[in-house]
């Protein structure tokens, strides 16, 4: 038996083991800890990439825990009793985003974090969060999904608030933890309802049974409430700017990916779990409306921010709105207008990768500013471009990409969303374009305020490791912007089709024909 068949579980188990073993290695020697972290990260990324290649070339990959064979998903009688990992195009795509963000975060963290400020703790929490996100994205079991959701919640909140010598991070962590706890309970209640109704937790089996009973609808409402909140959707988004703005830069970038993992959960529920029961476009319109509201409200709030971290945080929340808009338009027209519904889905999913790279780059650049000046207050910053030349360039690139300026990646995905949402309602497109214009103004102001003008102070440039981490994300922005068709064809389209029309394949893979 080759290692290849165990790739789905190794992609989760290795970072989980890495998290628990890392403090032990740190006790021995910090160099051993760093070596362990590099090995775990490299192996995890290799597993995720290998898994994605398998999925994009051979189709859905399965892994059944505790079975004689990893592919034996059902017991005699055709009932899936064990925990099954189901990795389709969408899961593989999300895994790639998570791996990319994790790699950039770790590269940055080595030189950004100081030993006396909880470096070992931060790295441990990072690996725990990484494992939780990869678990959420590959599990085919609702209770398992809830468990990984909680793993990410605990690790994310601890990453926001572990710097207890400052006042604001613990407060932000407390607010986030309270929201995550209630959201997690909503998801758990929904899982309990579905288990009570059907006696199963397997997503494929539940999907084959759900028929739209009142209890099914209550469970869907609870799942929507919990997952929309954790994705940072207006009006339950307020924890997100607190958490993003107060988290250290290497954690903020992973929190962005964590938010996207919840968005993935929402799409999985709507398109796969309830894919056979949603016969009216009402839920699609709800997601579309909330997405439009999110992108506009967050962009308006970004206009008045004077803290660079808060400004980027609201920019990040507004990008969630674009992803929801793409997914919502797709869900609204899934049965009536498939011609542009799939385009909308591709736009929303493509924007996930682009958001991870652009917002991640902006958070890392803001971290360099905080490290150099001790503050992110735009009223106290200026002229940093004289000393932080590379960081200035990276921030400018990220800002243009976030605002959707061609030919960068943000434009490519927003273009797909604009074109498809226009066919549903031109008003949606007008609001989406307005959001981008607002963000352009906001980030031009931020760039002028922080990086241009006369030199106000002399600062040390960022170390090479941090520049390389930002360089990786900048390269992604340029590559996805200049050849978007290649990435859309080979990565985004399989992911969108896995949700769009892939429910039958998903069910057949798990339950058999």
């Amino acid at each position: 038996m080759t290692i290849g068949i165990h790739v789905p579980i190794l992609a989760i188990a290795v970072p989980l083991l890495g998290a628990f073993a890392l403090p032990i290695f740190a006790k021995v020697h910090r160099n051993l800890r760093d070596l362990w972290a590099i090995l775990v990260a490299a192996f995890t990324c290799a597993m995720v990439v290998a898994l994605a290649v398998q999925v994009f070339t051979s189709g859905i990959q399965l892994y059944t825990l505790g079975a004689a064979s990893p592919t034996a998903t059902v017991v005699q009688g055709g009932f899936p009793i064990r925990i099954v990992l189901v990795v389709d195009g969408m899961s593989a795509f999300m895994g790639l985003i998570t791996a990319l963000v994790g790699l950039a975060s770790l590269m940055y963290a080595f030189q950004f974090l100081k030993e006396e400020q909880g470096k070992t703790l931060a790295m441990t929490l990072f690996f725990l969060l990484w494992a939780g996100m990869l678990g959420m994205e590959s599990t085919g079991d609702m209770f398992n999904f809830f468990v990984f959701l909680e793993v990410t919640s605990i690790a994310a909140c601890a990453l926001v608030g572990y710097r207890t010598w400052e006042s604001r991070p613990p407060e932000a962590a407390f607010k986030t933890m309270a929201m995550y706890t209630v959201g997690g309970l909503l998801v758990l209640l929904a899982v309990g309802i579905l288990y009570g109704e059907y006696g199963a937790l397997n997503i494929a089996y539940l999907s084959s049974q759900i028929s739209g009973t009142p209890l099914d609808k209550v469970a869907l409402g609870l799942l929507l409430g919990g997952l929309l909140m954790k994705a940072g959707t207006v009006p339950a988004h307020m924890w997100a700017p607190d958490a993003y703005g107060e988290a250290p830069a290497q954690a903020a970038i992973v929190l962005v990916a964590n938010t996207q993992a919840s968005l993935y959960g929402l799409f999985r529920v709507l398109f796969t779990l309830y894919g056979g029961a949603l016969s009216t476009p009402a839920v699609g319109w709800l997601v579309t409306a909330l997405g439009t509201l999110t992108l506009l409200v967050a962009a308006l709030m970004a206009v008045i921010q004077t803290d660079l971290g808060g400004l980027i945080a609201y920019g990040a929340v507004s990008q969630i709105g674009y992803m929801l808009l793409g997914g919502g338009v797709g869900l609204t027209v899934i049965s009536s207008r498939p011609d542009f519904g799939l385009v909308a889905m591709k736009g929303g999913i493509f924007h996930m990768m682009n958001d991870a790279a652009t917002v991640g780059l902006l958070f890392l650049a803001a971290g360099v500013v905080k490290r150099a000046c001790g503050t992110k207050d735009l009223r106290a910053l200026g002229g940093l471009g004289h000393d932080l030349k590379w960081t200035s360039g990276f921030f400018f690139l990220g800002a243009l990409a976030l605002a959707g300026i061609p030919p960068l990646n943000g434009f490519a995905s927003k273009f797909l969303i604009y074109e498809s949402s226009f066919r549903l309602s031109p008003i949606l497109t007008a609001i989406a374009v307005l959001g981008s214009i607002l963000l352009l103004a906001v980030f031009v102001r931020a760039f002028q305020g922080a990086f241009l003008g006369p030199r106000l102070r002399t600062v040390q440039p960022a170390p090479l490791g941090m520049l390389i981490a930002m360089g990786v994300l900048a390269a992604i922005i340029l590559a996805f912007g200049l050849v978007p068709d290649f990435f859309v064809r080979h990565m985004v389209t399989p992911a969108a089709e896995a949700l769009w029309r892939g429910r039958d394949l998903y069910l057949a893979a798990v339950l058999g024909d």
């Binding site: 709030m301 273009f415 074109e419």
Partner: protein, 108 residues
């Protein structure tokens, strides 16, 4: 090299070619301009309505697009009003979101 949407297409290479053409045109205009600029003289000083500018003065980002931001102020004020920072309000809005989601799902 084209991203096809069903309604149209997006080609970054065509856009770059057009952008290069526009940049070339801008350079041509600039090249034909007057050449009286001298680096390291008073010409390097920022011009702020003819006022004497103190050394090290920086026009911060908050001053950019002032009219744009003021024009948006009525909308921004309304949006800002419900960003109170209180956890109780966060929970209230979560309940509102949950109620709307349940209402939409149950009524359809």
């Amino acid at each position: 090299m084209r991203l096809v949407t069903g309604q149209g297409f997006w080609s970054p290479l065509v856009w770059l070619a057009l952008a290069a053409g526009v940049a070339l045109l801008a350079w041509a205009f600039w090249f034909r301009g007057r050449r009286t600029y001298k680096a390291g003289t008073d010409q390097d000083m920022p011009f702020l309505s003819g006022e004497q500018v103190p050394e090290g003065a920086h026009v911060g980002g908050q001053h950019l697009y002032w009219g744009f931001v003021e024009g948006l102020r009525p909308f921004v004020d309304r949006v800002q009003a419900f960003h109170t920072g209180f956890l109780g309000d966060y929970m209230t809005w979560l309940v509102v979101l949950l109620a709307v989601a349940l209402l939409v799902v149950m009524l359809t």
